[in-house]
């Protein structure tokens, strides 16, 4: 573990990256097992599952930052909003 000491790992950040890695691995398995065609969503864009994951992650980051800047440091509601946002992106975008 000393080799990774310079990366200053913490459990919360490790869990965060593990979550993203699991999401990417799931997307990869899905892409191989169930190939898809891009979908034309409400934004008028042709998106694949990967695009929708990217939009969900990027949007969630901004929801958290916006909440932090405009409301306060308790991010529970921001996380719930992010999950709803991600669900909406995967359903309609």
């Amino acid at each position: 573990m000393d080799h990774f000491a310079w990366m200053a790992w913490t459990w919360p950040t490790a869990a965060f990256f593990a979550g993203i890695a699991v999401a990417l691995a799931t997307m990869t398995v899905l892409a191989v097992r169930r190939p898809e065609t891009p979908r034309h969503g409400i934004l008028g864009l042709d998106t694949t599952r990967g695009d929708r994951l990217f939009l969900s992650l990027l949007g969630s980051a901004f929801i958290h930052l916006g909440w932090l800047g405009l409301v306060g440091p308790d991010l529970t509601v921001a996380s719930i909003l992010s999950l709803l946002y991600a669900a909406a992106v995967f359903r309609w975008v």
Binding site: A5, W6, M7, A8, W9, T10, P12, T13, F16, F17, T28, A31, V32, P35, E36, T37, P38, G44, L45, T48, F54, L58, A61, F62, L65, L68, G69, P73, L75
Partner: protein, 294 residues
Amino acid sequence: MDKPLNQKAWLFVLPVLLIVAFSALIPLMTVVNYSVQDTFGNNQFFWNGIGWYIDLLDPTTDLGGRFLDALWRNLLFSAIILAIEVPLGIAVALSMPRDGWRVAATLVVLALPMLIPWNVVGTIWQIFAREDIGLLGYVVNRLGIPYNYTADTLSAWITIVVMDVWHWTSLVALLCYAGLRSIPDAFYQAARIDGASRWAVFMNIQLPKMNRVLLIAVLLRFMDSFMIYTEPFVVTGGGPGNSTTFVSIDLVKLALGQFDLGKAAAMSIVYNLIILAICWVFYTVMTRLDARRG
């Protein structure tokens, strides 16, 4: 649209992913780790949670104030750069010769500024714009126009904007020229038969054909100007005061000058997210326009 995409080809990209992992992903993960901690050197880190992010997004704190100021400067700089370089690059491309020896000569002349390393460009302009020994600065002051980039904010901004235009307009011009060269002569002949004006030819033939390269040009110039560091750092060092301190310059001051790795990491994560979001919007809007024009 009905044929499923074959995603197995992505497996062949694995070697590149490994290289990207070492050059980008591992450093990025490290920055995220730093952004939730504080350090007093000697590789000792202390958990700080989202503390730096709270400071960063609060304009009343020192960190938040300087970040927002630097961000606005960056956005203003990028907007000015795009507003000048894109139309100027198109104009240069339209006026370039289409055949003969002059094509090669023009291409070489246009490529020259881009071949000069960024810190050398900064040094050239730092000397060129000096009011005592620099040709530009001396002449402008002799003409009675007050110009001193070390003391006056407007002079400093004009210097770095003109320097960037000098350095990078040729990139836009060369990309547009490549787009123009791909237009068959038959298009121009048809326009002549129809009696189309110069403006109509530009709007209906040349601009649509340059669309794809313009997308690349706008994206490249936005990203480069939004992440600019070397040239303004060499010319003005972020001054006078903080008037040309862009986010990248402020990041270096924070991370290497003050050794505040946690604050600098939080700032770079937010900076990175903003760049990612703006590039996505640019790309999406321009590819949609492209698709609509067919």
